[in-house]
Point group: none
Chain length 214, copies 4
Amino acid sequence: MSTTAVRPLRADAVRNRALIVDAARKLFAERGLDVTLHDVAEEAGVGVGTVYRRFPDKDALLAGLVTAKYETLVELAEQAAALPTGREGLRQYLLGAMQLRSSDRSLSTAVMRAAPQTAEALELRERLWALMGGVVARAQAEGAVRQGFTPDDVPAVSSMIGSIADRTRDEHPDAWRRYALLLVDAVCPPAGELPPLVGEPLAPPPAGCAVARP
Amino acid sequence: MSTTAVRPLRADAVRNRALIVDAARKLFAERGLDVTLHDVAEEAGVGVGTVYRRFPDKDALLAGLVTAKYETLVELAEQAAALPTGREGLRQYLLGAMQLRSSDRSLSTAVMRAAPQTAEALELRERLWALMGGVVARAQAEGAVRQGFTPDDVPAVSSMIGSIADRTRDEHPDAWRRYALLLVDAVCPPAGELPPLVGEPLAPPPAGCAVARP
Amino acid sequence: MSTTAVRPLRADAVRNRALIVDAARKLFAERGLDVTLHDVAEEAGVGVGTVYRRFPDKDALLAGLVTAKYETLVELAEQAAALPTGREGLRQYLLGAMQLRSSDRSLSTAVMRAAPQTAEALELRERLWALMGGVVARAQAEGAVRQGFTPDDVPAVSSMIGSIADRTRDEHPDAWRRYALLLVDAVCPPAGELPPLVGEPLAPPPAGCAVARP
Amino acid sequence: MSTTAVRPLRADAVRNRALIVDAARKLFAERGLDVTLHDVAEEAGVGVGTVYRRFPDKDALLAGLVTAKYETLVELAEQAAALPTGREGLRQYLLGAMQLRSSDRSLSTAVMRAAPQTAEALELRERLWALMGGVVARAQAEGAVRQGFTPDDVPAVSSMIGSIADRTRDEHPDAWRRYALLLVDAVCPPAGELPPLVGEPLAPPPAGCAVARP
DNA sequence: CATGAATGAGCGTTCATTCAT
DNA sequence: AATGAATGAACGCTCATTCAT
């Protein structure tokens, strides 16, 4: 029936995948892990079936986001590596990674828990490791890092802002900074005197406020 | 024990309530916030209706657990307050609170996010605040605390071990300690020289491993 | 074991039964058939178990209310029988019975559907039949009744106000009268000229208002 | 039928929607408002999810049936308007509407209690009103109607057969006619002499029979 | 390939009914 | 006899996943 029909390119498939990832990123960031795949599909402007064609299940989609996340982190690491000192590089990278987490409700838990599922993500992770390994090594040489700290600690420490960020994102979107700096200073103190903590401590939730839905 | 007053009625009800709370505590700790009340009922060996008789809804059950959690934290704070120095007290309390979190998947997010729903919980929280306020003040007087740190920061800092603990609970149940000490040292460094980090850094998840279910 | 124990009297049992029936009558009238037996028990100030001791199940309780209803209807019929003409008697009784229905959300459907379950109720029903049989016969002799109308039609006709009453009870508690008189006039027209319908017609429900829950 | 426009997609969806509506109509008619959507789904031979895909909730399904009901009533009104006299038209319409109610357990309460939820239903209701307004006006001009009767009374009067119909549907499916005619004669008496009531009066329920479930 | 209709297990919750106290 | 704690089937509804179109 389709004699002259040109073979449909991968082009649109690739485009659809990007649409889905973008939509998922947006929705997961805004509303956390409990967005439905119908929501994602609708936001992306495709059918649910298309989402399932690209990602075997919801977890795979989540894992797909990790790739996107790694890309941003690699950029961040490249900027960090370009800074004059290891100290500054490490501090900038950690704060940047935490800022990313603080603006993304789902990935603060999901990214670090999931393994890279694709060769691409794995490659990105290794590139990230190489970049930050260099930065950490330089900082160590400068005597700027807590003893025993290794490049493998970088993602772990970054993830620790998650619980604070999740709690405060909606009401005090900058509250995470106080604790982020506390952590960064613990890993790699600033050059001079250790300054007082910035910002305000997190007020306890008022009596009677509801448990946030998962 | 209380004179001759008979309270014939509640014997089994009290026992069942305890069974439910125990079951809930266990399951929430193991599997996080998304256990169903059917699961809780089954684990407790009662019908769902019984769970609903004791707790109007799921949030109320969670709130009940929060109360129990606060009781433990108050005990911990009392022990901390009894230590000779504020420094030791603060360090012991923070590490103890983090240890509790590290063994409880749900409460690491729920406790700090939820308000105390009951007068009892509120009272416990205030008592906790008073105890730790004293400890922090003593530690400040000793010059042992990071400048700007306040008692309100205590729960926030405690919660920060959550993301690490959730990631490692099943495979490396002690991995949280490395990062817990990093945090505690940041808030309130030990008396002498700052030692190297303890333990091993968190290895990145191997390629291809699945995203853990929420 | 209970040698000297006095046999517990029926006295309180009888009182409890009355409490239950009163509570049930009140709640069913106000809120229809979907009150729970816990509500009834609470309103009556007894335990649920006590309700079940007196009435094997919810339907039996409903049937129990029929007895109470019949008592009121018998009184009404006695007053009707005392009126000078059969016409007046029949009209007064029908209007009175309809008024009862109009103030009782549940019984408008339940009473006429349920059979008398107790000897007492059966006796009351027969007494009612006898009284109204006399009234109808007198009215027939006066030529005041639609031909073919029999005493057996009395409860049927009375029940017909139910659908109107249920629809209007909350908003226009007197709206039923218009249609009650229409029916009564159809069965037994007033002495003189047939007057116009009284009151206002029932406005149709406004667009968009919800279906009332059953 | 509509030119050559192909609408390839909905073939099965349309069929399923029809299956659902048919099943719902049947079950609601037989058993009243408290059929579950699982029942409807099973009767229709589809999954529950499919029902919820077509109708956001139970009320919406009910509203869908109301639309179908209005369609029938409009047809009935059109036939009534075509009759030579207003008297005949009004009588035929009222009897027809009552007959519909007598064969449908749920709609006797639902249709008249619910507002039209859709623009379609609203339009149908208005069309119905216009048609019957004309019929009533003609009948009034003929002097055939009870004074004060208005088109707004038409649905109210129609609904009054509900309580009788619900009681008798299963055992004496024609018992409603006696009371329907009583009502219709009250609104709009037949041309000649008022005949005796047709049929038999409703026998009281035998002692001991159970209350029918709601 | 893309679509979105269909599926059904599972959720939180209710309530008529039973039974240990 | 009275109580109310316990039960569990059933409800309305959701959503990850499959599959006919």
